[in-house]
Symmetry: C2
Subunit: 299 residues, 2 copies
Amino acid sequence: MSQFNMKSYLGFWGAKVEEFFESYMTCPNPHTKGLTDAMRYSLFAGGKRIRPALIYSSYGIFEGYFDKVTPFAAAVEMLHTYSLIHDDLPAMDDDDYRRGKPTNHKVYGEATAILAGDGLLTKAFEVMCNRDINPDVDAALMLEAAYKLADASGDRGMVGGQFADMEAESGVFNAQTVDYIHTNKTSRLLAYCCELGAILGYGTEEDKKRLFEYGMRIGLAFQIVDDILDITSTTEELGKDVGSDAANGKATYPAVHGIEDSHRKAELLIEEAMEIISVYGNTADPCREIAKFIIERKN
Amino acid sequence: MSQFNMKSYLGFWGAKVEEFFESYMTCPNPHTKGLTDAMRYSLFAGGKRIRPALIYSSYGIFEGYFDKVTPFAAAVEMLHTYSLIHDDLPAMDDDDYRRGKPTNHKVYGEATAILAGDGLLTKAFEVMCNRDINPDVDAALMLEAAYKLADASGDRGMVGGQFADMEAESGVFNAQTVDYIHTNKTSRLLAYCCELGAILGYGTEEDKKRLFEYGMRIGLAFQIVDDILDITSTTEELGKDVGSDAANGKATYPAVHGIEDSHRKAELLIEEAMEIISVYGNTADPCREIAKFIIERKN
């Protein structure tokens, strides 16, 4: 795997998901063209597609019918995209740029951005529960996938993490708060992606647990690296405002532990993640490459 | 059924749903207490619980195991509640009162209100896809219920209707626009409730279609009556600001057709709804009473 090109790899799976968006995200009615435009704008705003890649890669450990994974990968990316749109809102992080482009509310206005987010969140479950586009997946597995997505992304997961993040801005925070925020705001959904691969690949309960634990670790490392890059990068490198965490008094790993210790923690997490999936053969190599990429990435 | 007391009837099913909220809507973590509080505030803000009553009533045509319906009825009420929280936001309708109480963002702030809405929307699908709390419902039926909920409430349904409603405020609108808005913003979810009863009661495809059509009609009548009450009621009677539709230049039935024609249209829809369910015996009487209630209600 010394020739492994992460950019091509992410691009390959990203293209599959974007093909799905292209065919599925059509405008249902002339009255809602502006809404469809806003939803598509953020879906096509050039994300890294790390979540889809994690789902396909984890799934690849068990099976090779990758086409059946696509609607699920697209659904998770829709859900992730809604969370970015709402996080960027003036009442939330109030960000003007995301991935080098104006944020959704800057282009379409606040009301439409709220509705575009609501629409994408709802559509994630619409896609995931639609048997017509998932004919090769058991109803029981689809339900498990949908339930665990809701669990990972609601008040017991991502939304809870975002709430704690907002709260921490207005007061003091400690290492425990930062752990709660990062675990829930970022890691839970990434861990879900990895577990989802095992679910769709008919992995055992042990496989699901293993991929979940791998995902929690690379997810936390991912967020720690994000926080470090916010301090050490330029706006050009990152495609979004830098230094905004410190300016907003955000609860981050570097703010509590410093940059060096934070980087060491991220490295340790990646080592643990590698160890967890060491039971698998070379079908798990893409998962290993993603773990390496997360710690080495520059944007 | 001359003794039928709608207030007691709605209260009876409302209490079942509130019992579910009480036991299920606990705080997952001290870090998110404020979020749980905000979600519970709007869930317990005294809605009419017309959607749960429609689900139980439609289900009662086919079966009598009402306890199995409760998580689904609670999920739909969670989804309805999220839509109210987001609709009331400053960037949307900017309402200060709802059901006689300050709106969610007035109490908890805008950021928390957005997240409470996101959390409730996500939790609706969490509850609906959770097999542990729905052990007596087939996985395939649960999926059908979840998929159709997403379809009715997303960009092809309720969210699309809300978007068209916002758009109409800023320009001209005609009878066709008003039809689109009302059908999608209100009727689709009410029609879903009626169809859901048939789904959970193992009704035939024809039963589902019939209850859906009944629901579309009482749903549209419900919204027309809402629009009329906004003009003819006082704030005390309605528990929310009155006359705000006209002040905001809202696309409503009375605005396009006048009050008298609107009322006649609502009556006609109720007659059609009654005709559609005339094939059922007295197990459908609660559905008939709800239809009558919708046209006669004063708030």
